[in-house]
């Protein structure tokens, strides 16, 4: 009887160890999946901005969002959403590339280059810029918590 109990417990422990090892494998494999998920969320965000889909924007941006635009102006979530809702901020085209991702568990740093044409308070900006976005998974949803954009300086300047 005692031998049987030990055997059962040993089996349970062994299965537990295998389970943990598989979970770690899955975690290792998941960085590419996380990158795809972040890109999908970011695409959804741009689509929502173009359509002024405020419900989607509310879901995709964390309540504590900090957004710093190319003029060095810092906006919170309410201010940022109001710029979109009012039409003060419009994406006439969306073009982003040259991505870098760094995954730290439920926090992802995404950096890239944007060549989107943006109209901000009536002024059209076509200048390329570098951006850094910080996404965090909050209650099962990837949300943008911070974004900063910087114009790429003309090399001759």
């Amino acid at each position: 009887m005692r031998k049987l109990r030990v055997a059962v417990l040993t089996t349970i422990l062994a299965l537990g160890v295998i389970g943990v090892a598989k979970a770690q494998d899955a975690k290792n494999e998941s960085d590419a999946e996380i990158q795809r998920a972040i890109l999908a969320v970011d695409n959804e965000r741009y689509e929502a901005m173009q359509k002024k889909d405020m419900a989607a924007l509310d879901r995709l941006h964390a309540d504590g969002l900090v957004f710093i635009n190319t003029k060095g102006r810092m906006l919170n979530k309410a201010e940022y959403m109001e710029e979109i809702r009012s039409g003060n901020l419009k994406f006439l085209t969306v073009e982003t590339d040259d991505y870098t991702f760094c995954v730290y568990g439920d926090t992802v740093i995404m950096s890239g280059r944007a060549k989107s044409v943006v109209e901000y308070h009536g002024v059209v900006n076509k200048k390329p810029r570098r951006f850094t976005s910080v996404f965090i998974k909050i209650q099962g949803q990837w949300r943008l918590v911070a974004h900063q954009a910087t114009l790429i300086a003309d090399e001759s300047n």
Partner: protein, 155 residues
């Protein structure tokens, strides 16, 4: 007897682990802010003194840096700028901090008015920055840094 001991051990581990996780998440945000500010103060001092050991410890290996010219730099490139003297702080003035804490990720925003010499050119234009710190192996490390000049005349 042996099975009973093993079961008790498993039970103990199950009780202790969630307790540890809870204790970590209950760290008051004020304490986290102070820890991050302390790390940031150490980084500021290290940048002025070109203290490579401290900078190497604080910058995460995969840190993403975007400077005020919109150039993406790696850790190696940033540290080389300090080591060579291509990047120098002529004066240091930074503040107006705001914090957002998400567990062990902290987003720190602020304003810098420091006079910075980069490759011989002095820049005194105030800038806004976003620093993202993450606790890795028990230490706060800088994983992302972005800077944007305020009211750029070219915009």
């Amino acid at each position: 007897m042996l099975a009973g001991r093993i079961l008790r051990m498993i039970g103990l581990i199950a009780l202790v682990c969630p307790g540890m996780a809870k204790a970590q998440s209950d760290v008051p945000s004020r304490a986290i802010q102070q820890e991050v500010l302390k790390t940031e103060a150490a980084r500021d001092e290290a940048m002025q003194k070109a203290d490579m050991a401290v900078l190497n410890r604080i910058y995460a290996d995969n840190v993403v840096i975007v400077n005020t010219r919109g150039v993406h730099l790696t850790k190696a490139q940033r540290l080389a700028d300090f080591q060579s003297g291509d990047l120098k702080f002529l004066s240091f003035d930074q503040g107006d901090y705001s914090f957002h804490i998400y567990g062990e990720t902290v987003v720190l925003n602020g304003r810098a008015n420091s006079a910075v010499q980069f490759h011989g050119k002095v820049n005194r234009v105030p800038r806004k920055f976003t620093l993202t710190y993450i606790k890795l192996d028990g230490e706060w490390r800088l994983v992302a840094q972005s800077e944007t000049l305020i009211d750029q005349p070219s915009n």
